[in-house]
Symmetry: C2
DNA sequence: TTGATCAGTGTACAAATGTACACTCTCAGT
DNA sequence: ACTGAGAGTGTACATTTGTACACTGATCAA
């Protein structure tokens, strides 16, 4: 038998690298992500990068995966907690207006994912799965049609919220969500 | 007096460079834009780039400006043509479901702008102005509140349309837009 | 303890990038 | 036709990038 088979010297290192990469994406954007920048942020030697990952794309995609996992977890939990239609609507309002579901940095990260997916098939798949998750979470409370419309509303209004720098009026958002649920959708 | 003062040897060259940069952004994404890549695409010597622009950021921002101009022109025109509320709603449906207002490539370009604005103040301003233009075009037909909601719906649904690769159901979109306009918004 | 084996690293390198700038070319004024 | 000022360019250069890979060192079977 072989000695020292598969025993890592520093377990969890790969994870820490991915975490560092995600922080870098959220702070500075994908464009600034490089083997060296991530290595420095994770306080890890450069060689570690090529040892644990086959390419920089893999690092970035894995970082995005963490982001999507994190956000979809909160998203799902927040909507699952809602017991009544009114509470579900309120959860949607909070997703759009609050920052308990996603901080501005995290929302910016999602846009970066959309852009990055244009040149990375793996990230494109990830972006698609993120959209699927949010749609699924909504269909728990709304008809499929209403869920589609609300999903789009969330997507767009969240972007505006983020780019404006200030949260939209809760009353207005609530009215819009209600309008989308109370008609024949 | 000075001889040859301000007489360009090849007028319109700057414009052609910007056009080439925009095409490059739409085809391959900002990440692939470089002095050399743009120069090659515009069939212009490398030195021309630094002669006409102070930095690559300027080239990219100008390219985005053309994109925003182009889209906001169509946007405004399309909504301005509408004479009745029903026609205005139909124009919104077309913006979301059709590709007469923005091709998939152009929509992808807008996302790239949102991302790029994170590190370029000029592009951030451009992104903000794009949002302002669309909002203004909508207030021509809808109440300010309804305009906000519809603007968000357009933004989000257009993204979904683009990332899904297939247009959403027109009937559904029409119902959603109607819902947002017929209530107390 | 030893040595085989694989985890992990430091360094080197080719390719690509943004930019500066010494140069060449062109044309308006004479 | 000539000329000089300013339009426009080719080349060179310092940096930064992704990646390869010869090396070092930690661990387990013996």
């Amino acid at each position: 038998m072989s000695a020292r088979s598969g025993v890592p010297n520093d377990p969890g290192r790969r994870e820490r690298i991915i975490a560092a990469a995600l922080e870098l994406i959220l702070d500075d954007g994908v464009a600034r992500v490089s083997h060296r920048a991530v290595a420095a942020r994770a306080d890890v030697p450069l060689g570690s990068m090529t040892y644990h990952f086959t390419s920089i794309d893999e690092v970035i995609t894995e970082a995005f995966r963490r982001l999507v996992d994190r956000l979809s977890g909160r998203y799902r939990a927040g909507l699952h907690e809602a017991a009544t239609p009114a509470e579900a609507r309120e959860a949607v309002v909070e997703i759009i207006c609050g920052d308990t579901f996603a901080s501005p940095r995290e929302m910016a990260g999602i846009f970066e994912l959309y852009s990055y997916g244009r040149s990375s098939p793996d990230s494109a798949e990830l972006a698609a799965s993120w959209m699927g998750i949010s749609a699924a979470a909504l269909t728990e409370h709304f008809t499929p049609d209403a869920a589609h419309a609300i999903d789009a509303l969330i997507e767009g209004w969240t972007i505006h919220h983020h780019l404006d720098g200030k949260a939209p009026d809760r009353e207005l958002v609530r009215a819009a969500v209600t309008a989308l649920t109370s008609s024949a959708l």
